[in-house]
């Protein structure tokens, strides 16, 4: 440390709040509605906690297991593409009131998912969406310049491969079935699932066996 005595004195007198207390409009509105619902007995605090625990428990590992199984088991893959809701139910995944739609990457087609209107995302399979997925920059740009955005994720798509964007505008939720990396035939389900990241199931990355 090369701080002078004067510097240390300045640090000691500068108050830095350790918590940002400004809730903003929506933060305040959420707190107000939540407290009213609890106060009027419509919901119990424990129900809220249980719902939040579900969000914390649900991670991309669920989707990764399903993709790995599809790579290994052609019958399961066909079922996943044909009746996705039924296929993922075997993994305890309940899509609720929305319908799951699985899109398969092939040597000639690369799929990528966005929700331009808000932040629709297959939470039951992938957990909470990353912040960038909800950003206006991603939502506006991936529909109009998908190849540039994919390039920023390190994913270069050859001109001979069709890029297909899926705008999740209504009652469907999308899962990309990435291509299985070459040379991974015969791997265990868990080893394969380790290659299936969140980004490969959104479609901004390819699954890769090498780092």
């Amino acid at each position: 440390m090369s701080h002078s005595h004067t510097d240390e004195h300045d640090h000691a007198t500068t108050f830095v709040p350790d918590e940002e207390l400004s809730l903003g409009f929506y933060g305040l509105a959420e707190a107000a509605v939540r407290e009213l619902l609890v106060e009027k007995g419509v919901i119990e605090p424990a129900e809220l906690r249980t719902a939040l625990e579900w969000y914390d428990r649900t991670t991309p590992a669920t989707g990764a297991q399903i993709v790995a199984r599809a790579w290994q088991d052609a019958t399961f893959k066909a079922a996943l593409l044909d009746d996705p809701g039924q296929a993922v139910a075997q993994y305890g995944v309940n899509m609720g009131h929305v319908q799951l739609y699985v899109v398969e990457n092939t040597p000639t087609l690369h799929n990528v998912i966005v929700c331009t209107l808000c932040s629709c995302y297959p939470r039951a399979l992938l957990g909470m969406p990353p912040d960038w997925y909800k950003s206006r920059a991603y939502r506006a740009r991936v529909v109009s310049e998908p190849r540039t955005v994919l390039g920023e994720f390190g994913t270069e798509i050859g001109a001979d491969i069709e890029v297909r964007v899926h705008d999740s505008t209504a009652d469907l939720r999308y899962l990309v079935l990435p291509e299985q990396p070459a040379g991974t035939e015969g791997w265990s389900t868990d080893a394969l699932a380790g290659l299936v990241t969140r980004d490969t199931m959104i479609g901004v990355a390819r699954a890769s066996a090498g780092v």
């Binding site: 739609y101 331009t116 109009s144 890029v163 297909r164």
Partner: protein, 99 residues
């Protein structure tokens, strides 16, 4: 638009701009694409958003558009596409639109 649309049929998205909870993106209004799947019927979001719930059902289609038809300055491949879920009451088959 009352009759069921067929997969493969060319449709134009209405260039309407009503207020309310509209699930048809602005950028695709007035564009022409091809129906690629019929997804069944879902509660009309425009009514449901205003009333909290609704029994009014709308057929939902996945419609595929060429990116070069969607964005005037699209810089990717001519074969690149965008698939969007659109409710039946926003879609008109092109032969009917021409009449």
């Amino acid at each position: 638009m009352s009759r069921a649309l067929q997969v493969g049929e060319a449709v134009t998205v209405d260039a309407r701009y009503p207020d309310g909870h509209i699930r048809t993106p602005y950028y695709i209004r007035g564009k022409t694409g091809v129906v690629c799947a019929a997804m069944g019927e879902f509660p009309d979001p425009e009514v449901a958003a205003a009333n909290g719930r609704t029994d009014a059902m709308r057929a939902l289609y996945r419609v595929r558009f060429l990116q070069r038809d969607t964005w005037a300055d699209y810089a990717g491949s001519d074969h690149d596409t965008i698939d969007i879920e659109i409710y039946a009451h926003w879609l008109t088959p092109i032969e009917e639109a021409a009449q």
